[in-house]
Symmetry: C3
Subunit: 340 residues, 3 copies
Amino acid sequence: MFLRNEWYVAGLSHEFVERPRQRWLLGEPFVLYRTASGRAVVLEDRCPHRGAPLSSGEVCGESIACGYHGFTFDPEGICTHVPGMQTIPREARVRACPVVERWGWVFVWMGAHHEVDLTRLPDYHWLTEPGWEGRSEYLSVKANYGLVRDNLLDLTHARYVHRKTLGTAAVTDHPINTEAHGCGVRVTREMPGIEPSPFFRLMGGFTGLVDHRQQIDFTPPCHVVINTRVRSTAGSAENRSAEFHVLNALTPETERSTHYFWGLVRNFALGDDTVTETQQRLNRETFLEDLSILEQQQVLLDCKPDGWRPIATRNDGGCVQAERLMNRLLEAEVPMRKVQ
Amino acid sequence: MFLRNEWYVAGLSHEFVERPRQRWLLGEPFVLYRTASGRAVVLEDRCPHRGAPLSSGEVCGESIACGYHGFTFDPEGICTHVPGMQTIPREARVRACPVVERWGWVFVWMGAHHEVDLTRLPDYHWLTEPGWEGRSEYLSVKANYGLVRDNLLDLTHARYVHRKTLGTAAVTDHPINTEAHGCGVRVTREMPGIEPSPFFRLMGGFTGLVDHRQQIDFTPPCHVVINTRVRSTAGSAENRSAEFHVLNALTPETERSTHYFWGLVRNFALGDDTVTETQQRLNRETFLEDLSILEQQQVLLDCKPDGWRPIATRNDGGCVQAERLMNRLLEAEVPMRKVQ
Amino acid sequence: MFLRNEWYVAGLSHEFVERPRQRWLLGEPFVLYRTASGRAVVLEDRCPHRGAPLSSGEVCGESIACGYHGFTFDPEGICTHVPGMQTIPREARVRACPVVERWGWVFVWMGAHHEVDLTRLPDYHWLTEPGWEGRSEYLSVKANYGLVRDNLLDLTHARYVHRKTLGTAAVTDHPINTEAHGCGVRVTREMPGIEPSPFFRLMGGFTGLVDHRQQIDFTPPCHVVINTRVRSTAGSAENRSAEFHVLNALTPETERSTHYFWGLVRNFALGDDTVTETQQRLNRETFLEDLSILEQQQVLLDCKPDGWRPIATRNDGGCVQAERLMNRLLEAEVPMRKVQ
């Protein structure tokens, strides 16, 4: 059960090319392609003729021709050509999803066309904003997207999962502040005067004590922006400052798997590709540590006994609020979907 | 749900040897072997003693001894020996299927013994008839046998799936004629005065315009014979002629997989093994192109939304008639099966 | 459906080390580890915090800290530390299984703590008793543990499955005697004056006729001890004697897979490591022959038709009695489990 009237990330811009690509989104098959004029298209990947994948076919100008018998569909999903036929069956169409391409990411609206709401497009503007530098990547996770979200909302896991890179006892020694508002959840942790983590020593050159702030913003259905700001503690010999945004879009592939699109941008060492390579590699390795836990967690939750529920502590404040918000949104949307 | 009172192909003759082989047919396990006297045998591959596979055992003369505790069964499926026992339990028997071996193929009757009907044996006589030359092969397809049948009944797919070998626009430019009769469906397409396809250029040496006729005969439950005849168009400088039969027996392994036995015979270049090698290789490569589409199609149909139905055009005439005929036969047979 | 109030083998002693290991027992995930003080521990491997595996974490002294957020549990399964929290939620505990380590094997009680019954610990004392020599090993079997048990209770299969090593016609030529008693089943076969099997020729140096006795003891839920005694037949030129115990603990991993712990001990050639290596290798190869049959048998029984039942002969006496005993115990235990 997924929220429909929302923006998800269907892919990175460079994944939309002339050669069509199949990708499952919210448990259903879609084909991604880029038209001759440069438009990114997301269509249902099941030809209404015989059920073959359009993605086995070829892009012709703006349209795509099925690889089985050549039924051709335009970016609206309307069949415009049936080989050997003069008339085209009216019901020959596939679902087309509204698409917005921005900041190098392709967003897709999975709900009703008449409800498309551009004001609710999630904000990842740092990806292209001057003064910020970094890159986007993709990971496939064999776990529900909610487990990935909760991973990002409780960063105390860094001390255990990432003890070699991000881990510091500070993360569990300092409490979080959780604020839920109508359209999201914010978790903040202030860690003044702590030792810098191995990551910040390496990336930011910090050696003395730092004030480290984590601010995590969850926006339904699956968007998490982590802002990490590290500054030399007042009074220390150093006077450094560095900031990162970790941008996370967790698109459900199925109930048990997730397309994890992530970007990492920094506000220093601009133009230095070596730094970019290093930050991407370190973050990728860090996320792969998470993946291992998340995929095992999924297996264990798949067979949890009846009535099993997670135990929440204060550090789970963000997870609890996010879950509550998502349930409220699902309760509001799903009955309406049935009425339609 | 499969038709039972029908002939299916259980294997190619050369697959029946002394060493037993397990093969699933219509969702159930069978063992294939050849007796000392040369008889091809098809028995249920589940020993009634403990459920072990007879195919793990050994052929002894006409019989097969289970590889677990040695229970021995004759070609009728009757237990003739239990090691260490004087008396044999009466219920110790496995299902034996009536078998007919002809033209290098082994046909098996999957229904009631008292209803065996030799007159309904499908016709693949070209495999051994003088004046025709070619070979048989086997492919495993992870798709329902009906999807393979429909692939063969609508050859317009050649233009898209096989565009490098068989494809020509002619196949969609010329309409088909579909005839359904009580015991089968025939689809015919006449393509007079067209450019020869790459396959016929290579195999038949055609360079000028040709009259190309396709005639496809479907016989329930799973037999499709395609006759392709190509002749130099009257009035052209050339005067060539060539004919192929593509013989297709699509035996259900399970609801989602098929044993695809196929033969290809031609009426020219007799005795030329190089031509035979080439035609087999080209056809095998062509079928592998189909497999890729069919297996993806199966995945997409497995998760099709409620109420999804394929859209039929004129070119689907053969598929629609074949489906209708199969449904009629199933409706007639299945209730009788329950009465028995 | 498994018996709970019983001792199963969770692992070999050397498998319990500081680094935690996940193992599924009776369809549920457990973590095995050894504490700093040397105690073998078996805990539910699903952290009550978020469902992550404790086995992804680290052993700290006597306790284990979850690899996700550091929740720490003692060998009783009680949470003793939550990072960053002063108070520990009362419900933060995992199931802990009573453990007894003996003879190099670790036994685990899968039922209620207040019903632990040490008098029912199965007897594998030969593993460490002076006068006996051999080793323990582990095999993973993709078949229900009952199929492995029945394999051991009807040794006539040796003639077919192990015809190159253990096989001799004698095993089916001589009848068994089956005795069921309240807490187990014993099968005995006396084979006086037979040719020694290849195994006994090689291991025991027998060349003349032998009196070969097999005695198989099944103790619920999954323990099978086979005593094989071979002596030169009275009056023959030779005067040799050799005895083996094959020790088998068949712990259900799931309904369709088994942890097979086995040991093999002999009462001769003590201290000769070459003989030990040979006996282990031969027995391992023999069991791998069984595995192949058992895993195929599981597949065939998974899809057996409604009403299919195995046929029992005199040689199945042990299997039939064991099945009956297990059903009686399950019928007695399961309703009580529901009341609790």
